[in-house]
């Protein structure tokens, strides 16, 4: 049933991602792919994997952003997977009942046997959490490793999502965000964890911890006099006749 659970779950399992420590190594994405290619939503089809235009289904993608400008700018690695929202439109727009939000722990899942591959859920998701598997003809998404976290055949320490278990710097935390006493909730409270795109009103469960302020207390990272602007900017390039000619030649 694609209506949301009437009794909101008290347990809200999710991830807390620390943007201060993430080094952008993509290990979480790789281990996610490795586990899930054989897990609950398997296969995660790849096309032309070793060719010129590889494409395929991934549940976890790591973007890198530059925030702020000049000397105040910083590079932030930004892993993004399903945020297991409390009021996700991806679930309610589903015409078949394939998409659902679990009442017990808030995990958003897809029943692959019922999915007709209409792709509307991926349109409804602001976070790009759902990727269509062209080979199987159904939508796929992060399961929060539902086949790991409750898996009693695994050692207890391994009963966390694959991305969390593999992060070499401990930038990913897994736990119950519905319990204010849980370690993840405490972490969010302490570091002022925030929601992505709160104005969409989806109330994501996953939280992001912002990069910490610089050690010297200022937002700037070096001496204020050192210019770090590029020597040749676009305006110079297009004003200089020779460079303009080179630009034209190269873009031909």
């Amino acid at each position: 049933m694609t209506s949301l659970p009437t009794e909101p779950a008290t347990r809200r399992l999710g991830l807390v991602i620390d943007l201060d420590i993430c080094v952008g190594c993509h290990a979480c994405a790789v281990n996610c792919k490795e586990w899930n290619a054989g897990g609950h939503m398997a296969p995660l089809t790849d096309f032309d994997a070793f060719g010129e235009k590889p494409s395929g289904v991934w549940f976890n993608r790591i973007h890198t952003f530059e925030a702020g400008e000049g000397a105040d700018g910083r590079t932030v690695h930004f892993p993004k997977s399903c945020l297991h929202c409390e009021t996700p439109d991806c679930v309610t727009v589903c015409p078949t009942g394939a998409s659902y939000k679990r009442a017990a722990d808030g995990i958003v899942l897809i029943n692959e046997d019922m999915c007709i591959g209409c792709k509307l859920c991926s349109w409804a998701c602001p976070y790009g959490a759902r990727e269509y598997d062209e080979d199987v003809g159904v939508m796929k998404k992060c399961t929060l490793c539902v086949d790991r976290i409750y898996n009693e055949t695994l050692d207890e320490v391994e009963r966390v999502p694959a991305c969390v278990s593999t992060c070499p710097v401990g930038a990913r935390h897994f736990g119950d965000l519905g319990d204010p006493e849980s370690s993840v909730s405490q972490l969010v409270a302490e570091r002022e964890g925030y929601d992505l795109m709160p104005e969409m009103g989806y109330r994501p469960t996953n939280k992001y911890l912002p990069p910490r302020p610089r050690r010297n207390g200022s937002t700037s990272c070096g001496s204020k006099s050192a210019p770090t602007e590029p020597v040749v900017d676009a305006a110079t390039l297009t004003n200089h006749p020779f460079l303009r000619w080179v630009d034209r030649l190269l873009t031909r």
Partner: protein, 311 residues
Amino acid sequence: MYPAYSVIFFTTASGAGYALMVLLSLLAVLGVLPAERWFGFTGFLIGLIAVTAGLLSSTYHLGRPERAWRAFSQWRSSWLSREGILAVATFVPAGLTALGWVFFEQIWWLPALLLVALAITTICATAMIYASLKTVRRWRNGWTLPGYLTMAFASGVLWLCLLCAVFEIRGEPLLWLALISIFAASLVKLGYWRFVDTETGNATAGSATGLGRFGKVKLFAAPHTEENYLLKEMGFKIARKHALKLRRIALLLGFAAPVLAILIAALMPQATLFLFILAVLANAVGTLTERWLFFAEARHVVTLFYGADVA
């Protein structure tokens, strides 16, 4: 958003088909159109073919069309599901109205009025699939629903004009209705384009990443070197100058050409049939262009993670 041809054809063909059947039934109930057998037969045949072909084509973009029947189950929450149910339900009064008209040369007003209500609701449900998506500001606004409705009626009324010309049914009120429908559709589309040119959503790259607190947020490195599903489906972009050209084509062919045809036909009644064929064809091309633009110009907030500043 990627303009999928199956969905473009579906929304334009079924919209026109529903509008044609609405106008046939309503004007027949009001006594403006005669309950003549072959006129009714042809009208409903065209309407039902357009609607059915549209519905079938919409299943082409499904990954698993054999499971399409499952889409009738989630009407409580999903506009797509509601649309599916309404579309199928509309066949019942459409069939009954056609039955009475073709076999008994009578207008059964109860199924006819039910058809009017259901067909209009179906067009609205189609529009609501798009108008309900919070992620696409250019769809989630007050212009989308009137756009679908008026475009459907502009096409439907032109088809009916042609049909009346073929069956030599005099219908001055119909011509006025055509002019009003086309005028309304062009007003709504102009308003829509004005809206999308000036409005953007609240979400920004800063709010999407939460990094806006540090200043301007720019994508430094994308997660992948090649296009993925998200970029193919949601990252489709059209150059503004192309969009403006296509808007003019949509306005000229969809609205201006049919109006001109109607006016010339009033002066040269002997050329009416030929002119109305041209009007229907021009309007079809204009409407398809408009619908293609409706998708191609729509921007999805997920692009904020891929270098867009606003969506």
